[in-house]
């Protein structure tokens, strides 16, 4: 059985923005950047648990809304000199549909 599930349409995520997926394991943030690439991370900053989905997105980075840690969207890791990592989830586009796979790590 495929673990890929459609969670929304690309157009439902604002460019340079994010949506929150409510998942039993905890909220997942799905980001869209200016090039219409999508990324998915656990919606918790490794610093103090801030909801990354609420941060400002630029390039392939999101700035946590609580204390401004810069988390890489591709890798989930905090930019130096901060240290920490948010869990990544596999996400991809199929046409306009955003597919999320919470079983596989990205």
């Amino acid at each position: 059985m495929s673990h890929w599930k459609k969670v929304c349409l690309l157009t439902e995520i604002p460019p340079l923005g994010a949506r929150v997926i409510q998942h039993p394991q905890g909220d997942i943030a799905v980001f869209r950047n200016a090039d219409d690439e999508v990324f998915a991370l656990e919606d918790r900053c490794p610093h103090k648990g801030g909801p990354l989905s609420q941060g400002i997105v630029y390039g392939k980075t999101v700035a946590c809304p609580l204390h401004g840690w810069q988390i890489g969207l591709e890798c989930g890791t905090a930019a130096a000199p901060d240290e920490g990592c948010a869990r990544r989830y596999a996400v991809r586009l199929e046409g306009n549909a955003v597919l999320l796979n919470t079983e596989a790590a990205a």
Binding site: K5, V7, C8, E12, I13, P14, P15, L16, G17, R19, V20, I21, Q22, H23, P24, D27, I28, V30, N33, A34, K48, G49, G50, P51, Q54, G55, I56, V57, Y58, G59, T61, A63, P65, L66, H67, G68, Q70, P81, L100, T102
Partner: protein, 808 residues
């Protein structure tokens, strides 16, 4: 692609910093080869004095260990002196025959100590003070011999003399000048310094010229003979009479030199393939000898070596601090003064304090401090930023004192703080943590300290303390805040340039602005985007469209995010006045949405804390009250006292005035938050004296005060104007705030804006010039005509995606 070959001659601080900057920009553009004449990897030359004084070891001051070179794939030739450059073949040759080809050559050959051309200068026991080798020789001499003479009473000479004395030698300083450190201090401060050093045991021979160095029986130097015939016993002579750019090699290959290798603003020499940085360079006629400007050069040079091609080095303003523990002196700029200059001095010879400030017009141009240097960083900042100081002139001498009042136990002298003392009360950073980070990571700017330690990264009240710590640790290499502050790392433009460009070139969107101003990043960052968004909507209301994705979450969600990810909701209560119906709705909403905390705010509003994001729109709908904008860089609240309607002392109806002001300014976005207050009499129960705009009713009308602040640093608002009517209060307040909206930089509170432009400037435009005041007020009204209640808009369905989560 085949890598280019970069060869660097010289393995010192400026050169290696250039490589570090280059590798950060482009890790793989070059194969890098480094030639260093000394057998050591790059070390912190500034800290040789603490090594000599026995406070640190050689190992402590290594900046880049050998492993670093290996990790970066750099071919390192230590102990090899380059003796020839063939610019045609593009090959450098070392004395031992080692060769290296280059596509780009970086000369960082530093400087050489100047050796006085006196008889005996080559005797054993006569050395200069420049590198680890010299330091080791001095330490060895100190173990074996007794008498030392240091020739030169400059920074380096005094540090050497102090170190040798601490190593147990009897030291005399021979100095040509009339007083010590004549390039850094005026006569009074120089004499104070001399007294203090004499008390520690140093001896001085001033206005003394060295005639010859005499040899003893062993052939080693035994005395220094002065012009007047005096002989000073000396088993060790240290020449510290100055440095000269080391241009020997550059000159030998025909590179244009003139008291330094001449470079342009990109650090390029007259041979386009050859760059030069550091003490060997002559930039616009100046050869710098302190590390801060050299690091600035390194940054620019790396940028051009990386092929990025922007960034210019335009010179530096210098400040000085002596690294002799226990002696505080600081000087910057033109501290001697003279014609056309004015001086303010404070002299307390017994207490050992001397301060001189040199002013030209309404600018501070120089400072010389002895004994109490706590405000050195502040003066240096005023000087570099060329801030008008007319209004603070009468208390300029008493110091900034604007190190925050809170969060660090009132400490304002970094040097006196214990290592364990907390510097940053927000992030719990202790002094020792900052000192360690500065030493171990080679930090030189406040920004770097902020990044690495988090100190001063939150409220910023300890920034002054952190600067002082930097200054104390680094001494003369300290670099205060950069002269022009760029908006962020995405651009070289500062806020003023960005604001000007948006206005003059009619830029109306973020992408357009970034393209026009050649932003380096495709869509900015979390620092520049909110600033740009504000500048655009403030400059072109009705035309530039607000970009929610470039707003901080609070302004996007129109509520305040809390540490657990919930939000707080503050409905607007005009002038702090509410009624039974509103209170009932608030109570019902609290029950219905199980809101955990209801709290009265300092601005006379009610705050509902702990609201889930998905509930926000429904909460707003049920409240049926407009947004209180408690989350925005915008008009917050107008706080009022009861006023003449009820209060037996009230002279004016302050409550109604507050309500009207709040309606008049509703929806106003601004560079930072804006708070107002209206009091009905001078008893000032609404605390108008600490608001951005404070209004105080008096019997004959209203007094307006601006630039107050009750936050990190309590700032009392300054008197702005006295007006007679209600309508004038609205017009004057609105016009002042519009001027602030048009001229302030993003995140600059009114008090900081006023510090920058001067209160007089705003009075001229608002109070003295009636036409301009009316025009400003009209522009504000026009801008506000586009603003709706954001909560009402979202109840209607706008930005729906922001508030809805998706099921898995």
């Amino acid at each position: 692609m085949q890598k280019l070959k970069l060869v660097m001659i010289g393995n010192g601080m400026a050169g290696v910093r250039t490589l570090e900057e280059l590798l950060a920009l482009t890790p793989s553009r070059y194969d890098i080869t480094v030639f260093g004449e000394e057998p050591h990897p790059n070390y912190n030359r500034i800290l040789l004095s603490p090594v000599l004084a026995g406070e640190q070891t050689v190992q402590d001051i290594i900046l880049n260990p050998l492993e670093w070179y290996a990790e970066q794939g750099i071919t390192l030739h230590l102990g090899k002196k380059v003796v020839k450059i063939d610019r045609k073949k593009r090959v450098v040759y070392a004395a031992d025959g080692t060769e290296a080809e280059y596509d780009r050559l970086l000369m960082a050959t530093g400087s050489k100590p100047f050796i006085l051309p006196v008889p005996g200068k080559d005797l054993p026991g006569v050395i200069s003070y420049r590198d680890i080798h010299d330091t080791e020789q001095m330490l060895a001499a100190a173990r074996q011999y007794r008498h030392a003479v240091v020739i030169g009473g400059g920074l380096l000479g005094l540090e050497a003399a102090n170190g040798l004395m601490l190593q147990g030698m009897s030291v005399t300083v021979v100095h040509l000048g009339e007083w010590l450190l004549e390039r850094q201090l005026d006569k009074v401060a120089g004499q104070l310094l001399q007294q203090s050093l004499e008390q520690r045991g140093l001896r001085f021979a001033l206005q003394a010229q060295t005639a010859a160095l005499l040899a003893g029986e062993s052939g080693r130097v035994s005395a220094v003979q002065l012009k007047d015939g005096t002989e000073l016993a000396a088993d060790l002579v240290v020449m510290a009479v100055g440095i000269r750019p080391n241009t020997e090699l550059a000159e030998s290959c025909g590179l244009y030199c003139n008291r330094g290798i001449v470079v342009n603003d990109t650090l390029q020499t007259f041979d386009p393939r050859i760059y030069a940085v550091g003490e060997c360079v002559n930039h616009r006629g100046i050869a710098y000898g302190l590390v801060a400007p050299l690091y600035e050069q390194a940054r620019v040079c790396a940028n051009h070596l990386a092929g990025w091609g922007y960034g210019r080095y335009v010179g530096s303003v210098l400040s000085t601090k002596l690294k002799v523990t226990g002696i505080d002196l600081f000087s910057a700029g033109d501290f001697m003064g003279g014609d056309g200059h004015e001086e303010i001095t404070l002299s307390d010879p017994v207490g050992g304090v001397y301060k001189k400030l040199v002013l030209k017009g309404d600018k501070l141009v120089g400072a010389c401090l002895y004994g109490d240097t706590a405000d050195g960083a502040w003066y240096f900042r005023l000087l570099k930023d060329e801030q008008p100081i007319g209004e603070i002139r009468d208390h300029l001498m008493w110091g900034e004192n604007n190190l925050g009042d809170t969060g660090h136990a009132g400490e304002n002298k970094a040097a006196a703080m214990a290592d364990e003392a907390e510097v940053c009360g927000c992030n719990g950073v202790r002094k020792i943590t900052i000192v360690k980070a500065i030493r171990e990571k080679g930090l030189t700017t406040l920004d770097e300290v902020k990044k690495h330690t988090k100190a001063s990264g939150s409220c910023g009240s300890c920034a002054g303390l952190c600067e002082q710590i930097l200054m104390n640790v680094l001494g003369s290499s300290f670099d205060a805040t950069p002269k022009t502050k760029t908006v962020c790392g995405c651009t070289d433009r500062n806020h003023q340039e960005v604001r000007d460009a948006i206005r003059e070139h009619h830029l109306v969107s973020i992408p357009q602005t970034m393209q026009f101003l050649e932003w380096r990043t495709p869509n900015g960052c979390a620092t520049c985007r909110p600033a740009l968004n504000y500048y655009l909507i403030a400059t072109w209301p009705g035309e530039a469209r607000d970009d929610p994705q470039s707003r901080f979450i609070n302004e996007r969600a129109h509520a305040n995010i809390q540490k657990d990810g919930t939000y707080s909701v503050v409905p607007r209560m005009w002038g702090g006045v509410t009624n039974a119906s509103e209170l009932r709705r608030i109570a019902d909403v609290t029950d219905k949405y199980r809101i955990p905390l209801v709290k009265v705010t300092g601005g006379q509003r009610i705050d509902l804390l702990g609201v889930k994001k998905e509930d926000l729109v429904n909460v707003w709908r049920d409240l049926d009250m407009p947004s209180g904008h408690a989350y925005g860089k915008s008009l917050r609240t107008v706080k009022t006292c009861v006023g003449s309607e009820f209060c037996r002392f009230g002279t004016q109806d302050s409550t109604q005035m507050g309500i009207d002001l709040e309606h008049d300014l509703f929806g106003m976005w601004s560079p930072h938050k804006v708070k107002l207050a209206v009091s009905g009499c001078p008893r000032n129960c609404a605390e108008s004296g600490i608001k951005d705009v404070g209004v105080i009713g008096v019997d004959s009308g209203w007094e307006l005060y601006v630039g107050g602040n009750g936050g990190i640093k309590t700032e009392v608002a300054q008197f702005f104007a006295k007006v007679a009517s209600h309508a004038e209060v609205l017009e004057y307040s609105g016009a002042f705030l519009q001027l602030y909206r048009e001229e302030a930089f993003y995140l600059e509170r009114t008090v900081h804006y006023l510090h920058r432009v001067g209160l007089e400037h705003t009075k001229q435009r608002v109070v003295a010039d009636a036409d301009n005041r009316k025009a400003l007020y009209a522009r504000l009204k026009y801008a506000l005509s586009f603003e709706q209640d954001p909560w009402a808009e979202r109840i209607q369905g706008e930005q729906k995606h922001e508030f809805e989560a998706l099921p898995a």
